[in-house]
C-alpha cells in the first residue's frame, strides 16, 4: 500500500441518503483528489469505533473507492492489513455462509446476509494505480464484499436473505 498524505475525518452519511444508493463512477487512482479521498476514508475509519471498512458513498461521494482494515478483529483469518482499493471488482467468490451485519450508515438495523467466505478481488491501489489481486477468506472476505457493494450503490438491506432478516438493532448497556 503506497504512503498516503494525512487524511481528514469526514462525516459518515446515513440511509436514506441518495448517495448510498448511487453506483460509483470509476476513478483515476493517481488523481490527487482520489488520493485525498483514500486518506480521508482511512482517517475516518480509524476514529470510528469497531469500523473495519468505509466506502466513498459513506462520506458522500459516489465513486468506486473504499478502505478496509480488519487487522485486530477477533474473527479475522486472512488479513491484508490497512489498505484502500479503487475500481475493485469480485473475480471469484465461493463457500457461502450467512452472518448478521451492521453498518455505520444504517445504524438502527442489522441484517442477515449470505456472502462468500472465499474471495478473490481485483482493484487498483491509490497513488500508483498498480493493479492488484487479493485472495482472502472469512471476515476480510465478508468485509470486502460489503464495501464493494457500497461502491455499487448497494447496502446490506439490498442483500438480506429473507423477509424476516432485518432486525432492529439490539442495544447493549
Amino acid at each position: 500500500m503506497p504512503e498516503l498524505p494525512p487524511g481528514s475525518v469526514r462525516t459518515v452519511v446515513r440511509a436514506p441518503a441518495t448517495v448510498l444508493a448511487t453506483a460509483g463512477r470509476d476513478v483515476d487512482p493517481t488523481d490527487p483528489d482520489v488520493v485525498a479521498l483514500a486518506a480521508d476514508l482511512l482517517a475516518t475509519q480509524e476514529v470510528s469505533p469497531g469500523c473495519v471498512g468505509l466506502a466513498a458513498q459513506q462520506v458522500g461521494e459516489a465513486l468506486r473507492v473504499f478502505s478496509v482494515d480488519v487487522s485486530g478483529h477477533p474473527k479475522t483469518r486472512s488479513c491484508h492489513g490497512r489498505f484502500v482499493l479503487c475500481n475493485a471488482e469480485v473475480v471469484s467468490a465461493s463457500r457461502k455462509g450467512r452472518g448478521r451485519e451492521g453498518c455505520m450508515s444504517v445504524p438502527d438495523f442489522t441484517g442477515d446476509v449470505q456472502r462468500a467466505r472465499r474471495l478473490v478481488v481485483r482493484g487498483q491501489l491509490p497513488v500508483t494505480g498498480e493493479q492488484v489481486e487479493l485472495e482472502t477468506d472469512g471476515f476480510e472476505a465478508v468485509c470486502l464484499q460489503h464495501e464493494i457493494d457500497h461502491t455499487n450503490g448497494l447496502l446490506f438491506l439490498d442483500r438480506v436473505s429473507d423477509a424476516h432478516a432485518i432486525h432492529p438493532r439490539q442495544t447493549y448497556l
Binding site: R100, C103, M104, H164
Partner: protein, 172 residues
C-alpha cells in the same frame, strides 16, 4: 398510532387492498409483519394517521366485507422502538420435535421465568414435525449455561430438541 390486524383466506391482492385503503385515509405504514399461515394470510400493521379511528375503520370495512377479511383497528401508544425493550444479548432459539400440545407454552415459560424477551417467533407444523424458531433477548445478568440447562430439561418433558444459539453481529 393505530394497530391494524387483518386475517383472511389467502389470495393475491390482500396487501394491496388493505394498504390501499389505509393510504386513502392518509395512513402511513410503520413497522409491520405479514405472513402466510396455512392458507390464512395474517397482517399486523402499525399505522400513523391524522384521520379519526372511525374513518380508518370505515375505509377498511369496505375491504373486509368485499374481500372476506377479518379486520381489527385499535389505538396503541406510539412508543419509541426501544421503549420497554430488555437490554441484553440476542439469541436464536431452535426447537423441533413431534407435535403435541404445550410445546410453545413450555419453552416460552422457561424464557419468561428468566426475564428473556421474545422479539420474534414463528412455528410451523408439517405432518408430525413441529418446528419453532424465535429470536430472544437474554438479559445481561442471566447465566446462559443455566438457561440452556433449564431449556433442555423443559424440552425433555415435552419431547422436543432445543438449541440456544448466540447471534453475533459483524460491524462493517
Amino acid at each position: 398510532m393505530l394497530a391494524v390486524t387483518v386475517i383472511g383466506a389467502d389470495r393475491p391482492g390482500i396487501v394491496a387492498e388493505v394498504t390501499g385503503a389505509l393510504a386513502a385515509v392518509e395512513g402511513n405504514l410503520e413497522d409491520s409483519t405479514m405472513t402466510l399461515l396455512r392458507g390464512q394470510f395474517a397482517m399486523v400493521v402499525l399505522v400513523r394517521t391524522g384521520s379519526p379511528v372511525a374513518e380508518v375503520e370505515q375505509a377498511l370495512a369496505r375491504v373486509s366485507s368485499q374481500g372476506g377479511l377479518a379486520v381489527d383497528v385499535r389505538p396503541v401508544s406510539a412508543a419509541s422502538p426501544a421503549a420497554g425493550a430488555v437490554q441484553g444479548s440476542s439469541y436464536v432459539v431452535h426447537v423441533n420435535g413431534a407435535d403435541r400440545p404445550g410445546i410453545v407454552a413450555t419453552i416460552t415459560g422457561v424464557l419468561a421465568r428468566r426475564g428473556v424477551n421474545v422479539v420474534d417467533l414463528g412455528t410451523r407444523l408439517a405432518g408430525e414435525l413441529y418446528v419453532l424458531t424465535a429470536e430472544v433477548v437474554v438479559p445481561l445478568d442471566v447465566d446462559v449455561d443455566e438457561l440452556r440447562a433449564e431449556l433442555d430439561e423443559a424440552a425433555g418433558v415435552v419431547g422436543v430438541h432445543v438449541r440456544l444459539v448466540a447471534v453475533e453481529t459483524d460491524e462493517m
